[in-house]
Subunit: 337 residues, 2 copies
């Protein structure tokens, strides 16, 4: 491997000169700088970011730890974050926790060892002592999409409670009065808040949400499909489904149709996130929409901004993005029997 020393030897310069020249320091004579640069080019020199990071105490990498890379919602977040990170010379280290706080902890430790400069985190929000420890470090962390419950922490996302409210309100406006809630893990803060939003809307109509109306599961099409089939087999009386995300909602619609019922004629379904698939003709899912790519971008920007202003007492930042109801064909007025 070609190093700075090799170039120095070749050019009969000290290696500090070479380093300075390569970094465009004007203390080095213009002509020498050029000589160094072209020699470096010629010899195929590539600077060693590790060595650089060691002495400069920053790696220009950030970690993005999230529950499920393949979930289109998170994939969009990554896309936005990667764009900004790359534009500012940073690389993204991606870690998939598969909704496990154990994996979340392992990944946190791993990226910290790697001396990444900051962390974007979609936490699965289970109690996690490692995360506590990390937050007490000097290392900047931005929570994305799902906020950190207690502590003051940087956050970019939406007002999930409000989103949940919007979703439930829409169904109520259509005349629905009996609901089931499908999917999700309740330890996730974003999900708890969505649920609270549902409850608030229903509360305005004096409708309680019983434990038995709620069917937890994974954030996947398969899980949504299985849940709704179980629900239908239980003869639960309901006219509308509140799904915690679009994948679940799509699964629910699959299940309903496979059971010989129609959406929305027999049952209305509303999702959450507005992933691309929600808009496909044939799916046409009513859902709560937000700009996921911007969310990723803003999160990365918030983190990187934090990295630039070193050692100043950083104050906590919060960015809450708009969201809105997108009405498609999966919801309709309740059928009066």
């Amino acid at each position: 491997m070609v190093t700075i020393k090799d170039i120095a030897r070749e050019l009969d310069l000290s290696y500090s000169s070479v380093s300075l020249a390569l970094n465009g320091d004007t203390r080095i004579k213009e002509q020498t700088r050029e000589r160094v640069k072209s020699k470096a080019e010629e010899m195929g020199y590539r600077r060693n970011a590790q060595a650089r990071a060691l002495v400069m105490n920053k790696s220009e990498m950030v970690g993005f730890i999230l529950p499920d890379i393949a979930n289109p919602f998170f994939a969009s977040l990554i896309l936005g974050a990667e764009e900004i990170a790359f534009r500012r010379g940073y690389s993204l280290v991606i870690c998939n926790t598969n909704w496990s706080s154990k994996l979340e902890a392992m990944h946190l430790n791993l990226v910290i060892e790697r001396k990444i400069d900051g962390i974007l985190l979609v936490s699965c929000n289970e109690p996690n002592p490692t995360l506590e420890k990390v937050l007490s470090l000097e290392l900047p962390v931005v929570f994305v999409s799902s906020p950190y419950p207690d502590a003051e922490a940087n956050f970019v996302g939406t007002d999930s409670e409000h989103g949940g409210y919007l979703a439930a309100k829409h169904l109520l406006d259509l005349g629905h009065r009996k609901f089931v809630v499908v999917g999700g893990r309740f330890n996730s803060e974003a999900i708890s808040q969505r649920f609270k939003g549902y409850e608030r809307a229903l509360g305005e109509y004096g409708i309680p949400l019983e434990e038995s109306d709620v069917y937890p599961g994974d954030f996947s099409v398969e899980s949504g499909c299985n849940s709704i089939k179980r629900i239908l087999s239980e003869q639960h009386a309901f006219s509308a489904v509140l799904a915690f995300d679009d994948l679940i909602a799509i699964g629910v619609m699959n299940g309903i149709r496979e059971s010989g019922l129609r959406v929305p004629d027999d049952i209305s379904v509303i999702g959450f996130d507005n992933i691309e698939a929600a808009s496909f003709s044939g799916i046409d899912l009513t859902t709560i929409s937000m700009d996921k790519i911007s969310m990723g971008r803003l999160a990365a920007e918030m983190l990187l901004d934090d990295l630039y202003c070193t050692d100043k007492p950083r104050d906590r930042k919060r960015t809450v993005l708009d969201q809105e109801l997108v009405v498609r064909k999966s919801t309709g007025p309740v059928k009066r029997p």
Copy 2:
């Protein structure tokens, strides 16, 4: 930051002992090892992977460079690769090229500077001198999904030509004789091969594929939708659409339906990749299926295996995964007028 030296001072040991102890070297007395480890724990020591990488000349990171993180096909590849990488102690650095060889080159340079140990690459296959240079390096590279045209290079993917053949053959078997091909960039090797597969199948029926039957575009729903609308407005005579991937195919179906026609009654559509959305009820896309997560896993395994066997003359490896036609409801027999 707590370093090895701090522990050494605290315990009145040399820092080589501490290093050895921390790495579980048996030359250090059991008891000392334990003492060091618990002290490290107590002081909140985290080893510095940068420093380690510098001296060991390996970073235990691999780069994954690909065209579009948010495309579900690629997202699945990442998921599989991340799983294996993490399991073996490696981190994945993700880079999005947005189908631009310029970005591809920039990312290649960046990850090499970062001293990643190897590269997983879904190349956009445009001529790329930087890539040439990288391949001449000692650095292991595995091409994923889309092979490197000329050179002998590690590859994990499918036989795209065969896949293309299967797709076209299916439509021919259904009686279709007039086709349009929608989407994709032809510089991508995988796409060229799919196209060749189409041609071979049509060739068996003596049907030529004219330039005018082919509508290039992006790998996106939107692009597919726009293309088909243009095609329909041109009054092109055809009964079936060969789409280069599922997103395009879904867009095509959207466009067809929005134009008041039916799939497959009026026009049959076949995709490629079998992304999850293809199976959603309401989409039901006939497509060519392959195991994308396995593809990601195998690629990572191939790369990591290469990293372990250092300095042996590595021979080029190829893994070709099976693929199969999945018939759903987007294709049907041609309607005789």
